[in-house]
Symmetry: C2
């Protein structure tokens, strides 16, 4: 507040650099005129900021060729192939995806490892990540450098430590995941998030939830979790453990749940429910594919899930009054194939005011939602203070 | 950002005036030394700010007499009787409370109107408020002036309009409450909030939730509502309709609810449940009083409620991961008389990480929680910019 003018000007410049970079990250390539209009900054300020971001290899400018427009064409500002990228990791029960993701959310290269014969272990994942980095780098521009690593995990993640106290479907208990991966990749800042928490972030930036500020993302993988935004901010809870909608109780007389309780949401809309309803014929993927093709037995099972999903959504609508519920993972198919069943089950118990206000949408980013959310997490420092983040990183890599 | 220094200094001064006033409002009378320490400002700055707030009748300074301390006694800064006050209104089904509340949350005078023979109507409440203002003013310092009016209502309140689409226990539908009251009290800015949303605010400032940032306040009156803070901010939802925990479903096979659904939380832990369990012998107040005295039949009923309340809390813990759940209204007695039952029912379905993190507490402000929250709502502008709010108000009262 009592800073001298030069310090203040530098803070403003850094703030504006971040503003321009975020705009490109969120909207993709834009003309200078569009950037000027969306940022509210002057044309000459935009020119200076874009030049500085280009100097640091964060953006490129080009003059479009061709076209029949009249007047001077506006320069197009966009990401460039040698820009810094992040490594995004999506850990799931059946496979681990490790990807290089550029500014703008483009997946530049991708390494998918099917789970080994045994279960996915934290140490195994840390090793896979370290092993995958050179091949990711080899597939993209030589001059591009990673600036961070974000990890999505289908389990509970402690807010400040990146510990995973509980990831039931991986069989993990009390795993210091961030620490393990950080040790395997010492040159990159590592951050860890829950898969649904990350999926809502990426859908908010690039997907179905763009422009919505009060959003619940329901992600069905084996378990069912929720990523929640209220007023545009992530709702994480006191310890980062919020969103375990899969273990709220839908019916106390329901099936026993692996968590020790009974009738949890997960027992009605998770993979186990789908397999139970189809008498174990085929994998979850097979059943969802059959439902997508309208196969009657699969459709019947999906409709039963849809009814429970609508009742789950009703509890969320009454408690949180979201504008939008996004359905991802297996729940995407449940919504797209049986939306009428979901809506009908929602209509009864939801209070009318909140009911009229909520929209149901399938996720747009599909299976990549958690992966792109992990990328968004890793991009955090660069998008908050581009030059500061680059300087901190080069300092880190030089010393000690 | 490009303001000239004088403008900037004025903004800093206004910010600091608000800081000092809020400190007194929240903590009560403090010595100058304590104010200096808590605000981080210099002793001389505090002196100037306190002098300015005293000039505007917002605070008083006094030198304590007596005592045997050595050294120069520090001036004590506190609210004064002729400071601006707010009018707080708590509408409930059986009575309407209208009070003058001073800086620091002190109820200076209070007018309680038992509900008339018929039901509480919006127009009736607006008239009662207008009628009560002179007698409130007569009971306090002649020079004290009201600066705002806040209203608590046991129903759904739209976020920006102060409309009440639905207040089932009052029998209200789609009532433009803020507009009606504003018309009856044209000289005061009127704001309206839901009772549980307001109760969590006042408990956060002066009660059980001081120092907690992730809080759910469960308020049992006739219905059951929740006021939610996440990261210290109110969670209101897209339209201000969040917190209707009373209409989340605890058991789909449960009793029919007046909302049209079945097995809502309200049917298990609300007043109707208590009356059902005691076969309608005595009023809710009688039963709660008997339970407070350990009377067996009343205790048995309270313990049944406690079990359902624990299961309700479990769903909240898994979805929101709060640090603290506060129990108010009738639920205060349920917690204090049968906490072991609440905790036992919570233990089963709550996930262990989130379970270990949550504390259960009775409300501290009792029946006045919503009233004091309404006061807090009305004090908002004064606590954000004291001089700006006073100037706006004197302008308002002078013209047009």
């Amino acid at each position: 507040v009592n800073q001298p003018p030069a310090v203040r000007q530098d803070a403003i410049r850094r703030h504006n650099l971040a503003l321009v970079l975020r705009q490109i990250h969120v909207d993709g390539a834009l003309t200078r005129a569009e950037l000027t209009q969306r940022s509210g900054l002057s044309r000459s300020t935009i020119g200076t900021l874009v030049a500085e971001l280009s100097d640091r290899d964060l953006l490129s400018e080009s003059v479009p060729t061709g076209g029949s427009g009249v007047g001077r064409p506006s320069h197009v500002v966009g990401p460039r192939p040698d820009s810094p990228y992040v490594v995004a990791v999506d850990i799931d029960v059946t496979r681990v995806v490790i990807a290089a993701v550029g500014i703008g959310g483009l997946v530049q290269s991708r390494h998918v490892s099917a789970a080994p014969t045994g279960p996915v272990t934290p140490e195994g994942v840390a090793g896979q990540i370290a092993d995958a980095l050179p091949s990711l780098q080899a597939a993209i521009d030589d001059d591009a450098r990673p600036v961070g690593l974000g990890v999505s995990v289908p389990g509970v993640v402690e807010r400040f430590t990146g510990r995973v106290p509980f990831a039931p479907n991986l069989g993990w208990h009390d795993v210091p995941l961030q620490q393990l991966i950080q040790a395997a990749v010492p040159h990159l800042p590592v951050s860890v998030g829950n898969d649904a928490d990350l999926a809502v972030l990426s859908e908010h930036v690039w997907g179905s939830a763009r422009g919505f500020e009060d959003v619940v993302y329901l992600l069905g993988r084996i378990g069912v979790g929720a990523g929640i935004l209220t007023d545009g901010r992530p709702l994480r809870g006191a310890g980062g453990l919020a969103g375990e909608v899969g273990h709220t109780v839908l019916d106390p007389a329901g099936p026993p749940c692996h968590c020790g309780s009974r009738g949890c949401v997960e027992t009605f809309v998770g993979d186990a429910a789908l397999l139970r309803l189809t008498h174990g014929e085929g994998s979850v993927q097979d059943i969802l594919r059959a439902a997508d093709q309208g196969e009657p037995a699969a459709m019947a099972a999906v409709e039963v899930l849809a009814e429970a999903l609508g009742r789950t959504a009703a509890n969320i609508v009454n408690l949180l009054n979201p504008q939008l519920i996004v359905f991802g993972g297996s729940l995407r198919t449940v919504l797209t194939r049986a939306q009428a069943h979901v809506e009908a089950a929602l209509d009864g118990p939801a209070l009318s005011g909140a009911r009229e206000m909520v929209e149901l949408r399938p996720c747009l980013l599909g299976e990549d939602g958690p992966l792109l959310g992990a990328a968004q997490l890793a991009f955090g420092p660069l998008l908050t203070d581009p030059l500061g983040a680059l300087d901190a990183l080069s300092h880190e890599m030089a010393g000690p």
